[in-house]
Symmetry: C2
């Protein structure tokens, strides 16, 4: 699978990273001599954050290439994404050329923030709106507008690279999300211009209140809850009258003068000037990863998108021992010592146990039937430091699988194949109703014993059966 990215920059680079890290080859066309450096920086950001959303490895990265000839860049591409500046004449020119170059079944997407498909294709060009949000490699939303057959096909591809396509029912200027952003932006410019609040105070007002609310429920669901037991109609009756009140400046937009630009840019420097754009980007990405991992626990919003994408990622093939973990270490797993925190060695081991339970059929439906394994004892040896962004692979040996017992020994390997830790763990099979130990179902028992039989000749691994502080 190959994607062609027409126009680098922050948005084109984000698209490139999203495809590349999901195993697509990516060809970039951008006449800017700085394009390779700029896209390289976006991809570097993506490499340290996108895989960290998942507890499984993404497919191997595709190949990235840069081209000075657009026809060469798009050759064989299944998706061509245009992310050039927001000028209709430029878009007509490029989209027109692309439509001639690529076959009918290649999706031509435009990252336009505001133009409608009818405007983009007025010159006969073939294109749909595929409007992303920055950072494209982390935020799942893509607004699709245009030909239903093409948007349908595009939606399928986008889901396969972990995104959340939203097909807009009728075309409208600025699609959906940017209409909200524009309304908030206009209102914010007034507040700064009128001296009601600075840029920093406005940002505080957003992130300390409704911003964090909107990360997991949108406007309507939030208000449904705010309406309390009386529900949505009650909420609307309560706030309906406000529609007539001067609670926003709305259409009356401030004059876009140099003074206003200086005022805003100056306040923005005061607010954030102590951090470089690169530092801000990384802070933003670390926060997004942390929050999206939190949402993944409940499957809400962007967390649900990650859950579904992860479920479809291929399991690594077993070698001598089953591979029960293959993942990148998220920044949020590190601590003040600049390495992976001790807790997350056990978390990785615990996820490996879950993965092993899947292998013997003690999976979600087994647990739903009222049976599971509870851990009663664990022992972790920390053998070498692991760092954010590093690949971690886990293999598991069964030390005992008789009766109620599940005695596992996980080997945690760092990126260079060094044994970074071992996690030894003993679980007992339980009846979830009585919370007392019980025998597993025969099918589970059988699979477990066959692992045990296969692993028994390996003998006790080095470090098994240790107590804390024992001499090597």
């Amino acid at each position: 699978m190959k994607a062609a990215i027409i126009g680098g920059g922050v948005i084109g680079g984000g698209w490139a990273a999203r495809f590349l890290l999901n195993g697509w080859d990516v060809a970039v066309f951008d006449p800017d001599p700085e394009a390779e450096r700029k896209i390289g920086e976006v991809i570097a950001n993506a490499r340290r954050s996108l895989p960290a959303l998942y507890d499984k490895a993404l497919p191997p990265e595709g190949t990235l290439s840069f081209h000075t000839d657009m026809a060469e860049a798009v050759k064989g591409a299944g998706w061509v994404q245009e992310s050039i500046p927001e000028r209709l004449d430029l878009k007509h020119n490029i989209l027109g050329q692309l439509s001639e170059m690529v076959p009918e079944d290649t999706v031509i997407g435009s990252s336009t923030s505001g133009f409608k498909p009818s405007e983009l294709t007025a010159n006969g060009a073939r294109a749909i709106v595929a409007h992303p949000f920055n950072p494209v490699y982390l935020l799942p939303l893509i607004e699709l507008v245009g030909n239903p057959e093409t948007t349908g096909k595009a939606a399928e591809i986008l889901r396969s690279i972990g995104m959340a396509p939203l097909t807009v029912r009728k075309e409208i200027d600025a699609h959906i999300a940017d209409r909200f952003l524009e309304a908030v932006w206009r209102e914010a410019l007034w507040l700064v211009k009128d001296g009601i609040a600075t840029t920093e105070e406005i940002d505080e007002a957003i992130k300390m209140g409704f911003g964090i609310r909107w990360a997991q429920m949108g406007l309507f669901e939030t208000y449904r809850v705010a309406g309390g037991e009386a529900g949505m109609k009650h909420f609307m009756a309560q706030f309906g009258p406000a529609l007539k009140w001067p609670w926003t400046k709305l259409m009356d937009v401030p004059e876009f003068t140099d003074e206003l630009v200086d005022l805003i840019a100056g306040q923005s420097d005061t607010q954030s000037g102590h951090l470089s754009i690169r530092e801000l980007e990384r802070l933003r990405d670390d926060n997004l990863v942390g929050m999206m991992r939190a949402l993944k626990k409940t499957g809400t919003g962007a967390g649900g998108v990650i859950q579904r994408h992860e479920a479809g990622l291929p399991a690594p093939e077993a070698k001598d021992l089953p591979i029960t973990g293959d993942r990148q270490i998220p920044v949020s797993w590190t601590d003040y010592n600049g390495h992976m925190n001790e807790t997350h060695y056990l978390e990785a081991g615990s996820l490996a146990t879950d993965e092993f339970m899947q292998l013997i059929g003690a999976d979600a439906s087994y647990i739903a039937s009222g049976k599971s394994y509870f851990t009663i004892e664990s022992h972790v040896r920390y053998l070498s430091e692991l760092h954010a962004g590093e690949q971690l692979t886990i293999q598991t040996q069964v030390l005992n699988g008789k009766g109620k017992k599940l005695h596992l020994f996980h080997f945690l390997y760092g990126a260079d194949g060094t044994l970074a830790a071992t996690v030894e763990t003993l679980l007992l099979h339980v009846d979830l109703t009585t919370r007392a130990s019980s025998l597993p179902d025969p099918e589970v028992q059988e699979k477990l014993e066959s692992f045990h039989t296969a692993h028994e000749p390996l003998g006790l691994p080095n470090g098994a059966g240790r107590f804390v502080g024992q001499r090597a």
Copy 2:
């Protein structure tokens, strides 16, 4: 400290919970016979989520009382908060009465979404705007508007209960955040009315894109980053022209008809009707707690507020052994078996180790000076199940503190005093530059040895020195 809550409901209840769980006594006045039940439900939600933001215990809860006499409710209160319906005549009546009842130095706050202080106090009443966001017990933002002396005092009190006061420079209808919400609301009503998107699609557009972005950076900082290396001026130049484009419907608001209400309420039922309001609230709270705990790692936005509040919470007093943990178990620490996941037993132990390091002076500044302890081995025994919302207390015994070694044994106790787990852990002192083991500073060594000497007569605790699967 006592707060009086005038008007129950979702907002008044949220205020009550926020004060109560921060150790204030709370007196509620609300003529609604259902007030006690309603506020009880809000407080139940707060008890399972607010303390879960912290890795330390909040102060003991204050006393909650309900009153049918307003004068009795406000007696001795340092803060009186009015959260009655949004009608100016009602507000005048109540704020007027309150101003007669309480002394000058009592803060009288109004939860009004829209009225300006000059409107609220037109009848001579004393009051400031103290506008919260639902759920008040979790979201830190409070907009303060009015008399600078009172808002200054109010800000100090709000910080002491873990909130983030934002003082608005000049009064304006709907303060700051609600102006944005109103703009988005008006735009959203248009989109639904015009059939561009359903309520569910609009919510998707928000939470999959800019919603999650705004939880951690606001509008301006996000755009600063989007501007890339060229910065805020570049961003403004790029989007300045859009101010003249029809990217929002703005002042032209849809007619508030029954049809519109039915359309919105019907779509909202389709979207969220499978969950009760109570279930939605708990899902929202679990998500907010998870995301706010993620933001706490980097100290961003609401996470910074929690960090600062937590730093000021009093440490529990040592008993026979030092208390190195005292906290509530967050929902996000539980798993598919309906109890605390094995990983978080070790996380609690790891935080207890951090706390013990503080006690011997191996604190943040010690680590900044290039010295720290690294864990080399840990052993966890899981003795009983722990559940979300349960209080967890940890005590720590020093098994060895000689030379480079720090050998600790943590006892984890559940709410009823049962020993729920033990975590035995061995750390080595390291030089953070060479990453090799080294001797601690003499001051640290001395404090550590005095703990060791004091704990030595206790002997090896039951379960220390065990290997996995050893018979009891």
